[in-house]
């Protein structure tokens, strides 16, 4: 029979307190002198946990960022001022604290999109309530201040966004100020200076899951094809030149969160008609699998994350809360310390 030292190459460690578990601790045994117990670290499924609440509930805002420790979000309409498009505040997040950035230049803004990181972000197009208009402007954040960028080609709102501040892509949208305004499959890309129209989506949509991939390799996940709003399961894959119909997700949604790349992605939350979903699905390059649920089903949220193992969902609205300030953070896998029971 093998010994622990024989298998692990070291004796059982004696510690006064448990370490913060990581992959390196999985399978290791130690003795916690304070607890008077043997402990072991295990690896569990990915899960959503509460993050620090957003400073005020906001829906239809924009977001950017690389992870749950480096995100940026800007207001849509909020519980501070529920008029759509009335807010122009933005906040950065380091995993524990939301810090207000200097005020954006826009005169309000809902139904907006974002791209880039928390210190090099792009905020594109928005809906302004008074006087009502879709605004095609963009602006850029450098970690210190917001500066005006150039206008998009079309004045659409409810677009998605991905990529970086100097290599961004946006798809879909519609003219909100005209109730009969058509939903489009318009696609534009940005080089840091100029917005240029590109190959349109095959299926015109609004509220496509954002933040999946780059300007030359991304996914357009779900969305709605009708202002009513009929959500779809469609996924299209972009290779920098053309869109290709991909494997559909299991649960239709629009205005849901999304993170990752075109090869390893997540989509979570969102709306399907008048209801919200908590469903979280993972794309492994081959198929979509439902892997977890948000704690609160919701949509109209901000989201960020460049991998499928670390993501953040920011504020939004749920069935019972029009402005839900809570934040959820996705981590996969989850490492845990467990007490070894010896009888």
């Amino acid at each position: 029979m093998g010994t622990y030292k024989g298998i692990q190459g070291e004796s059982v460690e004696v510690l006064a307190s448990d370490p913060s578990p990581t992959q390196a601790h999985v399978g290791k045994l130690w003795y916690n002198t304070t607890a008077g117990a043997f402990k072991i670290a295990t690896e569990g499924s990915g899960a959503w946990a509460a993050g620090t609440n957003y400073p005020n509930g906001s829906q239809y805002g924009g977001s950017a960022g690389t992870s749950q420790n480096a995100a940026l979000a800007w207001q849509g309409d909020s519980d501070l001022n529920p008029t759509p498009g009335a807010m122009k505040a933005a906040f950065s997040y380091d995993g524990s604290t939301w810090t207000q950035t200097p005020t954006m230049n826009r005169d309000g803004g809902s139904y907006t999109f974002g791209a880039g990181t928390s210190t090099s972000a792009l905020a594109g197009s928005y809906y302004r309530s008074s006087p009502a208009a879709n605004m095609s402007s963009s602006e850029e954040y450098n970690g210190t201040a917001w500066a005006a960028g150039n206008d998009l080609t079309d004045d659409q709102a409810l677009r998605n966004g991905c990529g970086t501040q100097t290599a961004a892509l946006t798809a879909g949208g519609r003219t909100i100020t005209a109730p009969s305004g058509p939903i489009t499959g318009y696609v534009e890309h940005y080089d840091g200076t100029t917005w240029t129209e590109s190959t349109a989506l095959t299926t015109a949509r609004i509220g496509i899951g954002a933040h999946n991939g780059t300007q030359t390799a991304s996914l357009a996940i779900c969305g709605a094809t009708n202002p009513g709003s009929v959500s779809v399961t469609n996924v299209e894959s972009w290779n920098g030149t053309s869109w290709t119909a991909g494997t559909v997700v299991n649960t239709s949604r629009y205005l849901g969160g999304a993170s990752g790349t075109s090869a390893l992605a997540l989509t979570y939350g969102g709306k399907a008609s008048g209801t919200y979903t908590a469903n979280t699905e993972e794309w492994n390059g081959t198929g979509w699998t439902e892997i977890a649920d948000l704690t609160t089903a919701r949509g109209n949220s901000g989201s960020a994350g460049t991998t499928n193992t670390d993501a953040i969902l920011i504020s939004g609205s749920s069935a019972a809360e029009e402005y839900n300030a809570s934040v959820e953070e996705w981590t996969s896998p989850v490492y845990t310390v467990k007490t070894v029971t010896v009888s």
Partner: protein, 100 residues
């Protein structure tokens, strides 16, 4: 053991941890939280510890449903009051939900 229901104010970081989510079923809406039993139907002791940790107030299913119903009714009233040219009026009217 059926689902348990409570109200608790989300305090942000630490209110629900990844480990909590892996230890028991938890779903929230409008300040109402639903806690599921173990797969074998027994009370989940880790869920009980969470209820204590967040100073939850236990509710019956009917009480919890009434809270959610009131929140949704308020949302419906707001939606009804939006002007026809308000962008939010182009979104679906909030629908009732039935707690599991």
């Amino acid at each position: 053991m059926p689902n348990r229901y409570c109200t608790a104010t989300s305090t942000g970081k630490g209110f629900v941890t990844h480990q909590d989510r892996n230890d028991f079923y938890l779903s929230g809406n409008g300040g109402v939280w639903i806690i599921g039993p173990n797969a074998n139907g027994t009370d989940n002791l880790k869920a009980s510890a969470w209820l204590s940790r967040v100073s939850a107030t236990i509710k019956t299913k009917a009480e919890a449903q009434a809270i959610v119903d009131a929140e949704i009714a308020a949302g419906q009233a707001r939606w009804d009051a939006y002007a026809d040219d308000d962008a939010r009026k182009q979104e679906p009217r909030p629908e009732e939900i039935t707690l599991p």
